[in-house]
């Protein structure tokens, strides 16, 4: 995909940010916690599977320079973060989540895909005031708290979100992901050996959107006509491209701790046989048709169940367009297969024009071959580090890879494919 041209200043800014993001993604900025990998899913775990979530407000940064007021869940008394922490537990665990609410509206938690959820010890049920529905689950008032509990019976990817005034509160950012790992097999998606993946390459893609006018109204304590709702920002894991390819915990994105760069090696039957796992969670108002470039992805599970028939049939299927709908989770494995094995000894059958007639993209390594580098044109930006490949992975509703009209931002990230080791990648 060719970069757009929204204007030289903004484009330059975006490119600079992308460069810095890329460097930091690989080397890690000083402020990062060593426990947090630079790329890949960041799990919040608990020895007794008890978690504390605090509904609170804060701000996030967007690549057009805006900051947007958000509601989100912080981890206990930790700093504001968006989205909320990724709660990772094992199959069979009794998960206890205590919600504390500092916001001006009551907030609750619902857990689509979980059964028999308790709220303060009784089955979590829709709440009514007289005949009026007030919440889909018992809510914590301002300053109050509710303790939810459920048994994570089934492995898979799930969503938690507010069930109170959800038309506003979910749009404001009150959501997060839950990962349930099969008992004894943290490297399987489900209790099924055919869903094995490489645990070093596990990614979350939590897809959401923002209507800045709604957020501005709540920031100012004003009313907002939801009939005017119109999203302008589109996010992966709470960030908009190019922030999506910045590392986890990037210092310049203190309230947006989760990146979305998928960083993998090519498939090899001996040295790299297992695919990467991408857990997609949709929290938008409509389907996001997510489209990773490169070869197909394989959908192996939906809403926390493997795609297997009643007789054990393998119902997984390959897609290059994943229609991640709101409230849905899609478990998808991805392996990058070098189909042509182009190399200097197996050259791409194209006559390469000389440099005066070339336009080199920002990630051109100087060589078209994986692992190869070469001379860059004078003035070439040279973001490529070690001959790695990049495929863009993005929402194919192209109006949604924008930030309030600014193109080449929004719901987009990269899949980075490093040459097989040994390589010169940092």
């Amino acid at each position: 995909m060719r970069p757009g041209t929204p204007g030289p200043l903004i484009r330059g800014l975006a490119t600079f940010v992308a460069f810095v993001a890329l460097l930091a993604a690989v080397r890690g900025a000083a402020a990062q916690s060593l426990a947090v990998p630079p790329n890949g899913i960041v799990c919040t775990t608990s020895a007794d599977d008890s978690f504390a979530l605090t509904a609170t407000d804060g701000y996030i940064s967007l690549p057009d320079g805006n900051s947007v007021y958000m509601w989100s869940f912080a981890s206990g008394t930790g700093p504001f973060q968006h989205p909320g922490p990724v709660i990772c537990v094992d199959q069979g665990d009794t998960v206890t989540i205590t919600l504390s609410n500092t916001l001006s509206q009551p907030v609750s938690l619902i857990f689509p895909g979980q059964s028999d959820v308790l709220a303060n010890g009784v089955p979590s049920q829709p709440q009514f005031s007289g005949a009026t529905l007030t919440s889909l689950a018992p809510a914590a008032p301002t300053g109050g708290s509710v303790t939810y509990q459920f048994v994570a019976n089934e492995p898979g990817t799930y969503l938690y979100e507010s069930g109170t005034n959800p038309g506003v509160q979910v749009q404001m950012g009150l959501f997060g992901a839950i990962v349930v790992r099969p008992a004894g097999h943290p490297d399987w998606v489900y209790a099924d050996a055919s869903t094995a993946f490489d645990p070093a390459h596990e990614y979350l893609m939590l897809l959401s959107e923002i209507d800045p006018y709604l957020h501005m109204a709540l920031e100012r304590g004003q009313s907002y006509d939801m009939g005017q709702y119109r999203p302008r920002y589109f996010l992966i894991n709470g960030r908009s491209f190019p922030d999506t390819i910045a590392p986890n915990g990037a210092a310049w994105l203190p309230d947006q701790p989760y990146g979305a760069l998928a960083h993998i090696y090519p498939y090899d039957p001996v040295t790299n046989p297992l695919p990467a796992l991408v857990r997609y969670v949709g929290v938008g108002s409509a389907d996001f048709p997510f489209h990773p470039h490169g070869n197909h992805s394989r959908v192996v599970g939906r809403d926390g169940r493997p795609l297997r028939g009643d007789g054990g049939e393998d119902l997984s299927y390959e897609k290059f367009s994943l229609p991640i709908g709101p409230g849905q989770t899609w478990d998808v494995t991805f392996s990058w297969h070098d189909a042509e094995n182009f190399s200097p000894s197996n050259p791409i059958p194209v006559t390469v024009p000389n440099q005066q007639n070339l336009f080199a993209g920002a990630y051109w390594s100087g060589s078209p071959y994986l692992g190869g580098t070469g001379t860059l044109p004078v003035g070439g930006e040279g973001y490529n580090q070690c001959g790695e490949y990049y495929h863009v992975a993005h929402n194919h509703a192209l109006t949604q890879i924008t930030s309030w009209g600014l193109t080449m931002s929004g719901m987009m990230t990269y899949t980075r494919i490093d040459p097989p080791e040994p390589n010169s990648c940092p």
């Binding site: 619902i110 689509p112 895909g113 979980q114 059964s115 028999d116 959820v117 089955p123 979590s124 049920q125 829709p126 009514f128 007289g130 005949a131 009026t132 529905l133 007030t134 919440s135 889909l136 979100e161 069930g163 109170t164 005034n165 959800p166 038309g167 506003v168 509160q169 979910v170 749009q171 939801m226 009939g227 709702y229 949709g282 938008g284 108002s285 409509a286 389907d287 939906r302 809403d303 926390g304 169940r305 795609l307 028939g309 009643d310 049939e313 119902l315 229609p323 709908g325 709101p326 409230g327 849905q328």
Partner: protein, 747 residues
């Protein structure tokens, strides 16, 4: 209280939300939108005929101004509903859906998923069109306004509804692997009031739905789906909106078994799934077995829409709840059978019997009646009877079946019993109800066919009598004259005692012979018993004649005649006047210019008259003047002679002629010479172009034609010398007078 959900079928009844009833405090609201009704269809054989009226209407949503819509109505006078009435059919049926277009522009019907050519022309406002399609596959389908130029906007205005095609196995969506306990139809739709206010001109790019509806209602007016713990619920979901929409459950999963009416070879389980506009989705939800009564599970638009009068908590309106109600006690009671009848109850086995019964499970579990059977005379084990298949499926059904000839052929004459019972969805067979019928194949016997008189004049009534008897009851009789037209095609006989109610009946009729020409006829008759058996026919001869009167004076006097005239003393009956081999005849003496005549007056005016008498002039002195010896008289108003026979003696010969009156005067034959006893026969008719014939001794002498005798009718005749007899003397003999309508008498 009932909800959108019902046991194995959709009622579509209008009702309040469960939450409203429990709270007891409904919010101040406008009248809720009408819930989908079931289309009024009639099933004739395997053809289901339905009617839809496309008309303008109003959608009333709580807290919002009324929105004008176009929707289908279920009756000629009913309101437009959004969605339209649900058409329910069974796989294999032929659907004939008649569209009555009452919106102000051409409109058509489309059935996506059906093998039916697209109608892009539609019918004009005020017109109707019938769409015929065969539903070959079970499933959940959408019907909507067809793609006429305005069709897209018509659909967005509300012209859509659900078409549910059920398999033959009740309680399943497609087959036994998709069996369910409760079923709900969920039609999702969108309303943008700005569009509805100006459907023709609104720029569709700006369509932004304000109201998100389930079955035409927005939460809190959406209807809850009432079910029970451990039950399996079939959700038939249809997206009639303009946007993709993800619908999901909280606390439950749904097993996707079909999309667009096509069952999946391998169903899969999700929490939420996206429906494209126009897409249908069937999923099964298993309610937890141990959950408490009253537990609610939200079914909602997972995109968490925030618009609409219900606010963000109501998710734009697209929210309802699967709610557990008290577990039903197990249904162990089978349906009751009543109102059973066999028609006819008395049969001769020549036609199938019609069996009707009403079977209802309403008071015994309110399941559906899914099977029915009947037994003849002996009740067998449940399920081994003759199945009754048409009309099943509702909780109360009126069934009909035909007991075929083959079944009757094996039964002896006499009383028999039919036993009928039905089975509900839980598999319970109910008690049997019975009806009786009797087979009677014994034909009646007939005898004593008599006609009185057996020989009758054409205008005389003939009384017909017949005796009939049967082991059962005589129910009818008939007669025929001439060729046998076949049993049942004759003229009816009446029972002499006034009613057909006994094993023996005297049957009678009055025959009217007016249409018959003189001759001999065969009259036949037969009788039928109450069972429909006809007896063999019996026949008797009937002679029809047209003789008005005859007298040969053999009685010795003239008493057969009505009266005498002239000088009656001049008349005598004597053997000297006998002619034609008889013993006696009439002698008329002419003396002193007078004589006498006998007169016969008939009971009616006649328009045809033929008179034959023997005449002997030998003893008379007549002179050359014409002397009248017979007149036929028209006695109406001023009596006139229609015709007369005259005699004279001329040129040494006796002569006779006939004078006939006609319009404008008289006509006469020429004088004919006779000698000795002569049979004189005159034939006359009243007509505008009538004719008169004279025959002597059987030989036609002369025919006068084209006489306008239409002004004359004959009522009476006078036989004997009459009129001017001055100068005449002697005797004239008369004998063997015969008068007919038209039959030639001859000598």
């Amino acid at each position: 209280m009932r909800s959108l959900l019902r046991l194995r079928r959709i009622t579509g009844a209008l009702l309040l939300a469960f939450v409203l009833l429990c709270a007891g405090l409904p919010p101040a609201a406008a009248a809720p939108a009408a819930a989908p009704s079931v289309a009024a269809c009639t099933l004739v054989g395997v053809t289901r005929r339905c009617e839809l009226w496309a008309r303008a209407g109003t959608l009333s949503l709580s807290g919002a101004p009324a929105v004008p819509i176009w929707g289908y109505a279920a009756s000629a006078a009913g309101p437009a509903s959004l969605p339209g009435p649900t058409i329910e059919a069974v796989v294999g049926e032929i659907l004939e859906v008649t569209l009555h277009n009452e919106i102000g522009e051409p409109s058509a019907l489309a059935f996506p998923g059906m093998a039916l050519a697209s109608d892009s022309v539609g019918v004009a406002p005020g017109a109707t069109r019938t769409y015929t399609l065969t539903v070959t596959q079970p499933g959940t389908f959408l019907y909507q306004a067809g793609l006429t130029p305005g069709g897209v906007r018509q659909v967005a205005m509300g012209l859509y509804g659900a078409l549910l095609v059920r398999p033959t196995t009740p309680g399943t969506a497609y087959d036994l692997t998709t069996a369910y306990d409760d079923e709900a139809l969920l039609v999702y739709s969108e309303i943008d009031p700005a569009f509805n206010a100006a459907p023709a001109s609104f720029p569709m790019q700006q369509f932004a739905p304000v109201y998100l509806l389930i079955n035409g209602r927005a939460y809190p007016e959406s209807e809850p789906l009432l079910t029970g713990a451990g039950r399996r619920v079939l959700l038939r979901q249809i997206n009639a909106g303009l946007h993709h929409r993800s619908l999901g459950l909280l606390g439950l999963r749904q097993r996707i078994i079909a999309t667009d009416g096509a069952p999946l070879a391998q169903p899969f389980s999700v929490v939420a799934e996206t429906l494209a506009p126009g897409q249908t989705l069937d999923s099964l939800v298993s309610m937890p077995a141990g959950a408490a009564v009253g537990t609610r599970y939200p079914l909602y638009a997972t995109g968490m829409p925030g618009q609409g009068p219900g606010g963000p908590a109501a998710l734009g309106g697209m929210l309802t709840f699967l709610t557990l109600q008290a577990a039903a006690t197990p249904d162990t009671a089978g349906p009751a059978t009543s109102a059973i009848s066999v028609t006819p109850a008395l049969s001769n086995g020549a036609s199938p019997l019609q069996l009707i019964a009403t079977i209802s499970d309403v008071a015994s579990g309110n399941g559906a009646v899914t099977a029915a059977e009947y037994f003849l005379d002996t009740v067998g084990a449940d399920g081994t009877g003759t199945p009754i298949t048409a009309g099943l499926g509702a909780s109360s059904v009126s069934l009909g079946a035909s007991i075929p000839l083959a079944a009757l052929a094996g039964l002896a004459d006499g009383p028999h019993t039919v036993f009928v019972h039905g089975r509900d969805t839980a598999g319970n067979w109910g008690a049997s109800a019975s009806a009786s019928f009797t087979l009677d194949r014994a034909a009646p016997g007939v005898s004593g066919l008599a006609l009185a008189p057996a020989r009758a004049r054409f205008d005389e009534p003939v009384t017909f009598t017949l005796s009939a008897s049967d082991p059962a009851t005589i129910a009818a009789g008939e007669y025929f004259i001439g060729a046998d037209p076949g049993a049942g095609a004759g003229q009816p006989l009446s029972p002499s005692d006034g009613s057909f109610d006994e094993t023996s009946e005297e049957l009678q009729a009055i025959l009217s012979l007016n249409a018959l020409a003189p001759g001999t006829y065969s009259v036949g008759a037969r009788a039928r018993d109450a069972a429909g058996n006809w007896s063999a026919p019996i026949t008797v001869a009937l002679e029809v004649h047209d003789t008005y009167f005859s007298d040969g004076f053999e009685s010795g006097d003239v008493s057969a005649w009505t009266s005498t005239g002239g000088n009656g003393a001049r008349l005598s009956v004597t053997s000297a006047a006998a002619m034609d081999g008889t013993a006696l005849g009439m002698r008329a003496v002419i003396s002193a210019g007078t004589s006498g005549f006998v007169e016969h007056t008939m009971d009616a005016d006649r328009s045809a008259y033929r008179a034959r008498f023997y005449l002997d002039l030998s003893g008379a002195t007549l002179g050359t003047a014409a002397r009248t010896v017979f007149v036929a008289r028209d006695t109406r108003a001023t009596p006139r002679n229609a015709f007369q026979v005259q005699v004279r003696y001329n040129n040494n010969r006796y002569q006779v002629r006939v004078v006939v009156a006609r319009t404008g005067g008289n006509s006469s034959t020429s004088w004919r010479t006779i000698s000795g006893p002569t049979a004189v026969e005159v034939g006359w008719s009243s007509a505008t172009s009538g004719s008169l014939t004279l025959a002597l001794n059987g030989v036609l002498q002369q025919t006068l034609s084209n006489l306008n005798t239409s002004g004359y009718l004959v009522r009476a005749v006078r036989l004997g010398p009459q009129g001017n007899l001055s100068g005449a003397s002697g005797t004239i003999h008369f004998d063997e007078f015969v008068a007919t309508r038209s039959t030639v008498v001859g000598p």
